[in-house]
Amino acid sequence: MINGFWNDIDAGVIDDTALDGNAMGGLLNEIFGTEMTTAVGICAFCGTARQLAEAIVYFRSPGAIMRCRTCTAVLLLVTRRAEMNCVDLSGLAALDVPN
């Protein structure tokens, strides 16, 4: 239950250290090989469609977490282990990559 694990360690959800999806642009490009902050993701929990740039992002050990700006559900998790990014996209019902 990776989402449960993350919920435990960032229980505050929105606090003063929250960044935007924009801040994950470099990491997302590393993973997807293209600019992803303008990609539209649909939250699997509430159904809201937004550009990833508008999501809530935290960089916290052991990686980065992106949450829905509307309902705060976890959209995307990236955990870095031994030079490898482990990516969990299960919080996204759909992800449309920009042209």
Partner: protein
């Protein structure tokens, strides 16, 4: 395909510092020569990576302060408990090399191709950095887009790019509010940006302005909510949050 600019995956590259100059007591502008730079859009950022002798790696994002077509410049504020900014603002010298990747982002950008839409730029402290890129871009492309820049700073000496902003061309209004200390005879605004101040200085909602808000997270939360409160549609308020640290 010849002539087709396919942008590949971002890679870390080595840039060389060409100049460092102070902006305020805690803020420096760093000019860089980046050999493989693909060109950037006004408002984009880049990632800096520092690797310690023991292999510990710290990465941070910084807004690009220069206009598209100019050399890459960053303006960095020193954070007292920062892992990266003290090095960038105190140790880095011309000739030093640094690892970066970019440009990054396609959301918090202004290309200047819509001359009918007024711009509202609201900055808390070093949140003004991407707006310098946008204002310089506006000047370089000869855009006549009306711009209002609302700056929040602790005191007058904390205003970044003060000299440059005092000489903005026609069509750019710079409005400053000082939150902690005002000089004698100060005729500008005082206190934090709130609904009352925005009602006074922001473009009225019926002008359908495009708003960009950048600064520390609590600042951006407050300003974005207040703009929606005075009638700006949420999709016309673009935000970039710097996190909890920093000054406004």
């Amino acid at each position: 395909m010849a002539g087709t600019a396919v942008r590949g995956r971002l890679t870390w590259e080595t840039a060389t510092v060409t100049a460092v100059r102070p902006e305020t007591s805690s803020v420096r502008t760093i000019e860089l020569q980046v050999p493989q730079w693909a060109g950037h859009r006004a408002g984009q950022h880049l990632d800096i990576r520092l690797t310690a002798d023991d292999g510990y790696v710290a990465e941070r994002s910084y807004s690009i302060a220069s206009a598209p077509g100019e050399g890459v410049a960053l303006t960095v504020e020193r954070l007292a408990d920062g892992e990266v900014s003290p090095y960038l603002t105190e140790e880095l010298r011309p000739g030093d090399e640094i690892e970066l990747r970019g440009p990054i982002g396609g959301y918090f950008v202004w290309d200047g191709d819509d001359s009918a839409t007024p711009l509202l730029l609201v900055a808390g402290g070093s949140g003004v950095v991407p707006f310098r890129s946008m204002l310089r871009h506006r000047g370089l492309i000869g855009s006549a887009v009306p711009v209002r820049l609302l700056l929040s700073a602790r005191s007058l000496p904390d205003v970044i790019y003060r000299d440059e902003l005092e000489h903005e061309p026609d069509g750019v209004e710079v409005i400053c509010t000082l939150t902690r200390q005002q000089p004698p005879g100060w005729t500008g605004h005082s206190g934090r940006v709130d609904s009352a101040l925005l009602s006074q200085v922001a473009w009225p909602a019926d002008q359908k302005a495009l708003a960009f808000v950048c600064g520390p997270t609590p600042f951006v939360e407050t300003v974005a909510a207040a703009l929606v409160g005075i009638g700006y549609p949420p999709d016309r308020v673009k935000t970039e949050r710097y996190g909890g640290a920093g000054t406004s």
